[in-house]
Symmetry: C3
Subunit: 384 residues, 3 copies
């Protein structure tokens, strides 16, 4: 439909804008950071609050901060493997409760910052255990390891705060490596698989299956939760989409970049097919493209660079740690995003968002554009 | 005896308190930090001053700062092995003298801060050398390595000062690992034993001997000085008791926790029997329980947690470094105490003592209670 | 000739001083930092500017900052191996251009600070590649790795700035280790040699050839550019001489100290003959003796100490990294100079030059003596 007169067009656009605004607002209630929920939860039962904090923690693993995303992801994990789902739930609860007990900052606890490392540690403990599912003794190290993550998180934050850096998943990466080293390959109580380096020679190397490689790209998103099934991986991707479409896009893009990097280095086919080549790329891409930096074309290019660098660094670290049977986890992506946050110069540093104000990319974008338009109108009004 | 009248009771309690006070004061002269000795030593011969500084350095290894404890420990080491005693003496002298020569802060030198790393390096060089006792060429790397510790101490302190962290035994840990790597296993001049990882398989594994395991607990205190004999270990424990009973208690407690951690991970029996499983736990427990934090029930619980974490981290690092034949030394305890000092939140950080004011735990306790009662009386007086 | 009268002597000395001064000044135009060239280049074609920046970058590898030295060194590299020369040129251009593109500080770019890491990475990629010369696919990782160096340089600088430390060759060391790990030993696209640890046993060990060992000392200077031929190494030494005679002296001295350290640890003969034992010593000696500290007898002694420490640390790290087939590159010297810059106390810290004011040693010496004499004359004039 084409508007004839100017006033009519204005009227209609206003109405449309109003409707659009209201729709947008109601959608925003379930997407983004859902900060309004925190106000709603105040004064509620501790168990309910703990549930929200933990669900935020679950989503934080994939850099999202939305309890609905967390619930969706947890459901996906229970679908993939009930045992893994149980371990994850226990991990996020153990580390969050430890944070409450040792008196960590309540704002941090309620933002789920003390949950995600514990969850990752318990998921990885389950994946690497060779004692099979429902090996109940594993709950001991799961609780102990998750609680240790809270200590590490609290201890690393003053170190990294000096440069306004997030603690990210450093605690998880440290604890899981120490756990696997501590138990060793022949432990009678907690036996575990050894990680195979991606550069290891394959004896029965066959032709590369393109369909499998493409399938590895969404699996790379699931591998962030150590989940190697396609269905749950897609649900996890959906949970990210709920938090922020931009992040979901960057997750897929980063996973694809990681797979490309893996191809260029001729890694083991299993590594490409399972999505293990892609997940560091996905994390590296998501962190730079929209979360810690305001989205723009420049940030987007840096995000792709970060994805490739994360993926190559991951292959390198996996080969190094794999020589003693250890996995490289997400060391590569964590270090690379930290590096990107430290970059000086006008290209990227100008877009950086202070860690305390990091929100969903769409929110970051709006607040910056509002702030900029505010600045412009101020300047205009002073001009008059 | 029961006092009838109030005034009599007061009188008696005063007398008793006075006597108690005087006894306490005269006991304090030989226990704690013996700061009065420093005033007494001023203007004395350099050789005498150097002896006191070095004895403080000897005691500093086990976190004590008392020249009498140092003398006791040195005697224990000479008892265990005269060659080791000689190496230790040479190490503490070499690094203290280097500090004097390169012009380090005189307050630091006289507090023995430049001696303990050098002593540990030379003791460990002696223990790992496979050339036997009285191999005089070893004195060359002993002097060189001890001097290097002073450089590292001086260089690391501005790095760690930013977070008010102690340099602790980082220099020792770095230098001994570099020395063992440098000489390698087949060195014609300085051959050395390879360290066996605690998780290594034992071929002739026998039943665990409970008496031996219990005996390993006090040995864990001696292993801080790389001493594996029971008698000298008990003297070392006595030296700690002289400095501070609380520290001695925590040393035993930490060693027991470390042994428990070792049992839970099924480490080699030799590691449990020799006390090697316990010494990192002991150090981790002593640092948190009373030294760097005012003693309280909370600190005590954190000290036990720190002991377990140190012990597990030590098993992990020993397995990692043991795969290239290196010992993990006290990396685990040093890192863990550093982590504990960095912890944020109200539980532990509130009890933290600034590094410059760290004294014997009993002194820390008294100065804090005096300070708190002072605050209360001030408040009362202003209320009136 | 002996002057009789005072006025004549003064006159002659003035004339001589004037001539000397003029000669000195005209010599200074080609030596030292050649800062006047920067003013001259302003507003010139970008390609010309880029050439000067890159030549500065080439010289920066060996701690010199002089485009003429850079040109001389580049010529030496092309003489030694045209392929290596091409790789080096490409590396320095790629990383400098990346710095321009991602908007790094222009003062840093024009000082060549973003070139030297990229150059080193590409030279080492060429040396370790087992695909032979003129393997054109290698240009891909060369460009990618050199560009990554710029990212690392930019990211590490805020970390190290806190302690006024230079980023030095940390980016090169990180990137080359990651590259070699990433490609692994059996990579189908980018195969590479494994590094042999210096402590490895030699089966056909023959008598040590003194002439070869002495020849290894100047080769140690060439090995800073991964160049193992004598002629080019001497030209490189000449290029350093052009920048600063003091630095050239320390380079040789450090290389000799490194060779001595290698002898004392009985490293492989090949390591001594090729100069690989000496180059970390050379770098460690040059950094402390004159560049980052004003030259004096004390600094000189510290420089020799730094050379020995760098060399020993290099043997240790080479043995460690060699166990997984990696080279230790210049990790040892970089870490040791960083440690020396951190040293507290009056001996060395008093001579330290702030990183922003580091110039050629001769210039540092003159500016300090001028500054001190200025202080003295000021004091004298106020006395009058």
């Amino acid at each position: 439909m084409w508007m004839d007169t100017k006033s009519e067009a204005k009227q209609a656009s206003r109405t449309r804008a109003g409707l659009h605004q209201r729709l947008f607002n109601s959608l925003l209630l379930c997407t983004g950071d859902m900060l309004h929920l925190d106000q709603h939860m105040e004064g509620k039962l501790f168990v309910l609050q703990l549930a929200v904090w933990s669900l935020r923690g679950v989503a934080r693993v994939i850099l999202a901060n939305n309890p609905l995303s967390g619930a969706l992801i947890l459901a996906a994990l229970y679908w993939a493997s009930p045992w893994q789902g149980l371990l994850g739930t226990l991990g996020v609860l153990a580390s969050t409760l430890t944070a409450v007990i040792i008196g960590q900052d309540s704002a941090e606890v309620s933002a789920g910052l003390h949950g995600f490392n514990g969850m990752l540690v318990s998921l990885l403990m389950g994946v690497f255990s060779s004692a099979g599912d429902w090996y109940w003794w594993l709950l001991l190290p799961v609780c102990f390891g998750s609680a240790t993550c809270t200590f590490l998180f609290s201890g690393l934050s003053p170190l990294l705060d000096r440069w306004d850096l997030p603690v990210a998943v450093f605690p998880f990466n440290i604890v899981i490596v120490l756990y696997l080293l501590c138990t060793g390959p022949n432990n009678p109580y907690y036996p575990h698989h050894l990680a195979t380096p991606p550069g290891a020679l394959e004896l029965n190397a066959t032709q590369l299956d393109t369909a499998e490689v493409v399938r590895g790209i969404p699996l790379g998103v699931g591998q962030i939760y150590a989940c190697g099934a396609l269905g749950p991986s897609l649900i996890i991707l959906g949970a990210v989409l709920l938090y922020s479409p931009l992040m979901a896009l960057h997750a897929l893009l980063g996973s694809a970049a990681g797979t490309l990097a893996g191809l260029s280095m001729a890694v083991r086919h299993a590594s490409l097919y399972s999505g293990l080549s892609g997940f560091n790329g996905a994390l590296g891409c998501m962190g730079v493209g929209g979360l810690f930096f305001t989205f723009s074309w420049r940030t987007h290019l840096f995000a792709i660079a970060s994805a490739f660098l994360s993926a190559y660094a991951d292959i390198a670290l996996s080969n190094l740690l794999g020589s003693v049977g250890l996995p490289a986890c997400s060391w590569a992506a964590t270090l690379m995003v930290t590096l990107m946050l430290l970059l000086t110069g006008q290209s990227l540093a100008a877009y950086r968002i202070p860690i305390g104000q990091v929100k969903a990319p769409e929110h970051n974008l709006r607040s910056r554009s509002q702030w900029e338009s505010g600045n412009t109108s101020d300047r205009e009004s002073t001009d008059v």
